[in-house]
């Protein structure tokens, strides 16, 4: 529990907390981005460079932007007047506490199974690439097909929309 870890954890929790509790959706997105950045910093602090940087590249660079576009397209940038909390907030908190307890128990009792010395591989990115193309090539190809289907679907949706903004003047 070093100072750096505490700081990064505080930033992450504050960001995610802001994302949950602020009323203005765009401020929520900013809080979410801060949370993602905090997570990425935590990954980097653990020494997982590739995962941490990919977290920034994918989550901040793509997912947050996607959410931004979704908010701006649906024009819900106006804040609602009162807090939009669900009425069953106590059930939500109970479930969150249970999940946290399960995770904490699993980590605590599984800690002895981890190797005692953190064995950082020499070329982590190369090993990930090797694994992707040798051991996990089938999941890679399936993901590629899935993404292609998503792209084609997005293209078809954009094309069919008669009042869409993507079409310029003919």
């Amino acid at each position: 529990m070093t100072l750096v870890f505490l700081l990064l954890a505080a930033i992450t929790i504050l960001g995610m907390g802001a994302a949950m509790s602020l009323r203005n959706p765009v401020r929520c997105v900013v809080g979410l981005t801060v949370g993602f950045l905090g997570l990425a910093a935590l990954y980097l602090q653990l020494g997982a460079q590739f995962v941490g940087l990919t977290q920034v590249l994918v989550y901040v660079g793509a997912v947050a932007i996607l959410i931004i576009f979704a908010i701006m397209m649906t024009r819900s940038t106006e804040s609602p007047e009162q807090q939009t909390f669900s009425r069953l907030w106590f059930a939500g908190i109970a479930i969150a506490v249970v999940v946290f307890a399960v995770l904490g128990w699993a980590i605590h009792f599984g800690a002895h199974m981890l190797p005692t010395q953190a064995a950082l591989p020499e070329l982590p990115v190369q090993q990930i690439g090797d694994a992707l193309l040798h051991r996990f090539v089938l999941p890679l190809e399936i993901i590629a097909v899935l993404l292609t289907a998503a792209l084609i679907g997005a293209g078809v949706l954009a094309l069919d929309d008669p009042a869409g903004e993507k079409r310029g003047p003919q």
Binding site: V30, L57, I65, M72, T77, Q126
Partner: protein, 398 residues
């Protein structure tokens, strides 16, 4: 330790590293990591804003000469003190924040932009042994930081609560997201050729010479194509002409930073130019050999001078293109990104992979060059067939 037996050229080359080691000798052991970080970062914070100031002057005078007029020549001899006048002006202007604007997001947007732009310099090797952070995934770090800039632009555009700024922000984000893929893919060929994501390793792979010629990647067919594509995507990523529609001064006034004035506007300007320098620096690292000299008999010139010389050449190229080309429309921009740049970068990756599998010799040069040339011709002809470059038919004016 300081090696006094080093030759004069080597000492000139490593002067900044030697200075840092000498200063670190005076720092107590407890504060060593912090002092090391500060000593590495402060030169970046001093050098690149200075280069920014010089570039604004160079741009104004260069564009003026291209347009058959003098640039600014009143402040100081030949206008050399113009950046100081500009800086004073932006510092003393009133900071106007619109009433309905979101004050905190409005403030944080330029700060985030500048911070993200400065972060990108952490992995650029400015000279031999002169890199702030030798990450093993340096190239990935650079592209990840580029993604932060988009969030900053959105924050700027939305927080101003103005139609122009929101429209400009959406256009800017669409443009940056579209050109990020060709940027990464174009830079990927250099990573493939080196086999490592570390910028230091990429530069050292290019710092060798056969005879007097260097091993720069730009001199290979796939490297040249990759360099050109990377520079085009870099121009689009920094919102520079001819891709400056989101901030087009004659179109939507200033797009997403229309509601900014005074120092925040100067920060946006700074962030944009810093992003331009960072992407140029990455292009230099990936394709132009980083800090290595162009000929083996020129290695006595210090490495950081070569880096800045190449940066100067690329900046002049940016200014030259800005003075030449008209602005692209939004749909032309998008078509160019998705229908030309993306297929071209993917085919470039094929060419680079083929290069690796061919035996070394003249054959692979011709094979890759012909493959890329054919791909280029087919793609541009394919675009032409869509009728994009047809002569216009006017319905009423004849």
């Amino acid at each position: 330790m300081i090696v006094f037996s080093a030759s004069g050229a080597e000492r000139a080359d490593q002067i900044f590293v030697l200075i840092k080691h000498w200063l670190m000798g005076y720092v107590p052991a407890a504060a060593q990591p912090l002092a090391s970080a500060v000593l590495s970062v402060v030169p970046i914070l001093m050098a690149f804003p200075l280069i920014f100031a010089i570039t604004t002057l160079l741009e104004r005078k260069g564009l003026g000469r291209i347009q058959n007029r003098y640039g600014p020549n009143r402040v100081g001899p030949w206008g050399l003190l113009q950046p100081m006048a500009d800086g004073l002006k932006s510092l003393t202007k009133e900071d106007i924040v619109p009433d309905s604007a979101d004050k905190w997001v409005h403030l944080c947007a330029p700060l985030l932009l500048v911070v993200a732009s400065f972060l990108a310099y952490a992995v650029l090797p400015i000279g031999r042994n002169m890199v702030v952070a030798n990450l093993s995934a340096g190239v990935l770090f650079f592209f990840a930081i580029g993604a932060l800039v988009e969030v900053a632009i959105f924050m700027a555009g939305w927080s101003s609560r103005s139609k122009y700024s929101l429209l400009g922000a959406m256009r800017a984000i669409a443009q940056m997201v579209s050109y990020e893929t060709p940027l990464v893919l174009a830079g990927l060929v250099a990573v493939m050729a080196t086999g490592s994501l570390s910028t230091v390793a990429i530069v050292e792979a290019q710092a060798q010479y056969t005879g007097i010629l260097p091993h720069w990647f730009v001199f290979t067919p796939w490297g040249f194509a990759g360099f050109v594509l990377f520079m085009i995507a870099a121009t689009a990523e920094s919102n520079r002409s001819p891709f400056d529609l989101p901030e087009g001064e004659s179109e939507i006034i200033a797009g997403y930073y229309i509601e900014y004035s005074g120092f925040k506007f100067a920060l946006f300007f700074l962030g944009e130019y810093l992003g331009m320098f960072a992407t140029s620096g990455m292009a230099i690292t990936l394709f132009l050999g980083g800090w290595s000299a162009p000929f083996s008999f020129l290695t006595w010139i210090p490495s950081y001078l070569w880096f800045f010389a190449k940066l100067l050449v690329i900046t002049c190229g940016f200014i030259w293109v800005r003075g030449t080309l008209p602005r692209l429309r939004m749909d032309q921009l998008m078509h160019f990104a998705w229908k030309f740049m993306l297929p071209m970068t993917l085919l470039n990756i094929f060419a680079a992979a083929a290069w690796k599998f061919f035996p070394t010799g003249v054959v692979r040069w011709f094979a890759c060059a012909i493959f890329l040339a054919v791909a280029f011709v087919l793609l541009t002809r394919g675009l032409k067939k869509r009728g994009d470059v047809r002569a216009r038919q006017y319905r009423f004016a004849d």
